[in-house]
Amino acid sequence: MRKYSVFAIAREALRAHKGWEAQWTSPEPRSSYDVVIVGAGGHGLGAAYYLAKEHGITNIAVIEKGWLGGGNTGRNTTIIRSNYLYEESMDIYEHSLKLWEGLSQDLNYNVMYSPRGVMMLSHNIHDQQSFKRHINANRLYGIDNEWLTPEQAKAFVPVLDISKTARYPINGAALQRRGGTARHDAVAWGFARAAADRGVHIIQNCEVTGIRRGPGGEVQGVETSKGFIGAKKIGVSAAGHSSVVMEMAGVRVPLASNPLQALVSEPMKPIFPCVVMSNTVHAYISQSDKGELVIGAGTDQYNSYSQTGGLQIITHTLDAICELFPMFRRVKMMRQWGGITDNTPDRSPIQGVTPVPGLFVNCGWGTGGFKATPGSANLFAHLIARGEPHKLAAGLTLDRFRTGRLIDEAAAAAVAH
């Protein structure tokens, strides 16, 4: 595939950009593949890419019921960070963050990973205790995360209100400077293009409706809206619908699908330099390179597969945003939307083998799996290729719900995003 570069653009500029080739193709499915991945989100496409790149498996189809990147990959607030608490989490998110740092070059696609810093606001002593627990754990693990005084926080984000009279005054903040954002669509497209370039078939508008199993219970392929497609191995990476797809193979996974909403403001000149999150008042916000404030709202309380949710969730979030940044009261919401996240009981993902031979699962990333995209995809590829988890993902198994060895980041009072 033609390399993207400023020279290529210059050349194309001279001929009205008529020479660009398709970033990915839309092939007819073959009758069978070595690996079928269900779900063309960042995780699924990435897994296909790394299978091809690092494990030499290229006879792969990524099957997507809608359009690639149209799931949560295309509707998230793009916060990237790795300053989680538990070792299992630090392992995978830091692995991911390291991949983010070179992803544009690796894919030859500018995914606009922008390490502008992710700042989490502390409003009370409990927050402070929890953040310092994270900061110390991160430091001993080799992950950057630092404590800021309110004044330091304000210096970093000048629009922050640090007055003592605020309803929940800010008593400090944790800052991960390497944290930041990336361009969500570019991540899906970049992986799609690089995977397609290595021979991966991306089959869109094709819904997986069943998983066919052989006499020994092993997978044989998937039933789809375009017919049966054989597969030696199947990797399920169908965020939001993971339990629905897994059920097709008779595997129950502990998941709840909930709408999670987000919204953007009208575009404005840059005023907001990084990502700010507050757990106590429930808000997170950044400003995109186009100028909109990108704001993550909460999860609706009920299970749902509709990518929409209640207005009260939005207003609740905006309450908090305007309390932290009172000047934004006159800013306007331009669009709101929702995505379906699948959440595990301990809010940590599940990636591992399943009781069904040949069936692998990557799910439960809930409200926070965008940041994990390259890392999760990379380790999922390893899992599928080798049939056993990479050591960095070894703790994410399904079995933990039987043994009770949960990875409960939420219980440790962190936010998930």
């Binding site: 809608g66 629905v244 996974v253 502990p254 597969y305 009981p345 039987r402």
Partner: protein
């Protein structure tokens, strides 16, 4: 914001007054102390998470305070009925069921099935 019929208040009320309380008809084993780890995991963690007709519990927490059950379509978010706690799983009225199925199809635009605006 949903509109929910409370079977105790006998009235439709705003979702604001309610708290969702998980899947309905998950029975706490009588002999809970004696069940296996697998059975416990099943009881405590595994839920159906249906796409389509689901049975779930709600609490009218800022109203009459009662827990009750509901049948809802998780694709359209439409309630098919609600009924009091303690009653066994109720069959969905037939007419409602058809409406739900018809709706499930028409609502698919929200599931980004492209090129399907009819």
């Amino acid at each position: 914001m949903l509109l929910i019929h409370c079977p105790y208040c006998e009235e439709d009320r705003s979702e604001l007054e309610f708290r969702w309380a998980g899947e309905a008809h998950v029975v706490r084993p009588e002999n809970i102390a004696a069940i296996s780890d697998e059975e416990f995991a099943e009881f405590f963690f595994l839920r159906n998470n249906e796409k389509g007709l689901t049975y779930e519990r709600w609490r009218h927490i800022h109203g009459c305070g009662r827990f009750f059950n509901a049948a809802r379509d998780t694709v359209s978010d439409r309630f098919l009925m609600t009924y009091k706690a303690g009653l066994p799983k109720q069959p969905v009225p037939v007419a409602e069921k058809f409406a739900a199925i018809a709706e499930e199809k028409s609502v698919e635009t929200w599931e980004q099935t492209e090129g399907d605006a009819r």
